[in-house]
Symmetry: none
Subunit: 229 residues, 2 copies
């Protein structure tokens, strides 16, 4: 079972978090202080840390930094709403995401899942994530960020390239627009999903022979898009 570590001094909040996690088939340990949290980390193997910003013994940043000295485990900071300026500081210091109290339980679970998945991808693909991808007449070079169709370069913008690379890294897998927004645009981005539609359109314009009959980027009606191999 996947274990999550909750570092939070207010027991009521910690238990609330644990309840939601357990409802979603995670197991959760609670540590009331930063020190206790660090000890739990040493003694156990967790998939993710939920870290309160305000702790009795040391602040969340400090804990975050100490965790990062030994591990790349995903860290989600939990903060009170009015502290959002400082949240950015937290992200700069090694946290992967932040969520404001009071939080939406679904969002919490969604983020936990997403970060665990991201981490796994990072680790598992760590070796060949820079390797060229060749599919049909299409060549994608992650290192140079260049894309060729029939050995002819097509210049993509940053987002276009990121989107293409993400999809082409898992060919034939269907991604919902929401999923693509989350993975390519990032968790902070709360825009409209039509953004994805438009980007898919522009991508097709650049890499497909006939954008209205795409051979690389397929539409899966009612579900999302897939990169066909």
């Amino acid at each position: 079972m996947e274990k999550i570590l909750i570092i939070e001094d207010e027991l009521s909040i910690a238990e609330l978090e644990r309840d939601y996690l357990e409802l979603n088939h995670y197991e959760a340990d609670i540590a009331a202080t930063g020190q206790e949290g660090l000890e739990c980390l040493k003694a156990n193997s967790y998939r993710l840390v939920l870290l309160d910003l305000m702790l009795p013994d040391m602040d969340g940043y400090e804990v975050c930094r100490k965790i990062r000295e030994v591990s790349e485990i995903p860290i989600i900071m939990v903060t009170a709403k009015n502290e959002d300026i400082d949240m950015i500081r937290g992200l700069g210091r090694g946290a992967d995401d932040y969520i404001a109290k009071p939080f939406n339980p679904n969002q919490l679970i969604a983020r936990v899942k997403a970060h665990i998945a991201r981490y796994d991808r990072l680790v598992s693909t760590g070796q060949n994530k820079d390797e060229d991808i060749r599919i049909g007449d299409l060549l994608i070079q992650p290192v140079t960020r260049k894309v060729f169709v029939n050995n002819e370069e097509r210049t993509l913008t940053a987002k276009e390239f990121d989107l293409l690379l993400f999809m082409a890294s898992s060919p034939n897998q269907v991604f919902s627009k929401e999923h693509l927004l989350e993975q390519v645009w990032g968790f902070e981005f709360y825009g409209d999903v039509t953004t994805v539609t438009v980007h898919i359109r522009r991508l097709r314009e650049k890499i497909e022979k006939d954008p209205s009959k795409p051979e690389y980027i397929g539409t899966v009606w009612g579900v999302g898009y897939r990169f066909k191999r």
Copy 2:
């Protein structure tokens, strides 16, 4: 898995280094003497060497020299005092980098990663560190630190040259400003990324025919810069 060789007589430090490396998905062997280290190198295939300056049988320089007789593998020297570093740097004995005890684990890992990546780049481009680089009308001489455009010398400052050489060593690869800061300015440097922008500007001024339409140093919008071949 990537293997690292630790040559260090103090077991507690060696084990600390190994722990950090293993947390970051490296495998590490420990050798307590220079002689033992050299034997490990013969018997195994490593990606990098962490080399203590003070060893019981021979000093780090000696070991370094002996390694260099047979291999161009990245070597990071680990030294006791900060002051020693400046002295060592001046000597230029073939180590690729230096780090002082007590070291920051993140920095250690960051440097290990960076040097392995750099080594791979050099190998894949089939280029020796000191070999001249010729691209179009541009000639870069690492040994003399001179740069010519159409056989006409352009005098660059130290940073300008380092930046140009770094980028030109991996043509077409896209580097973010953060990456350039880290690699060219060093890990200790915590300045603003606009510094990179300005240096790029100055470089273009000196080597491009029309700096506003650069043919060597290209801008990759939203990502960084690339040296075009």
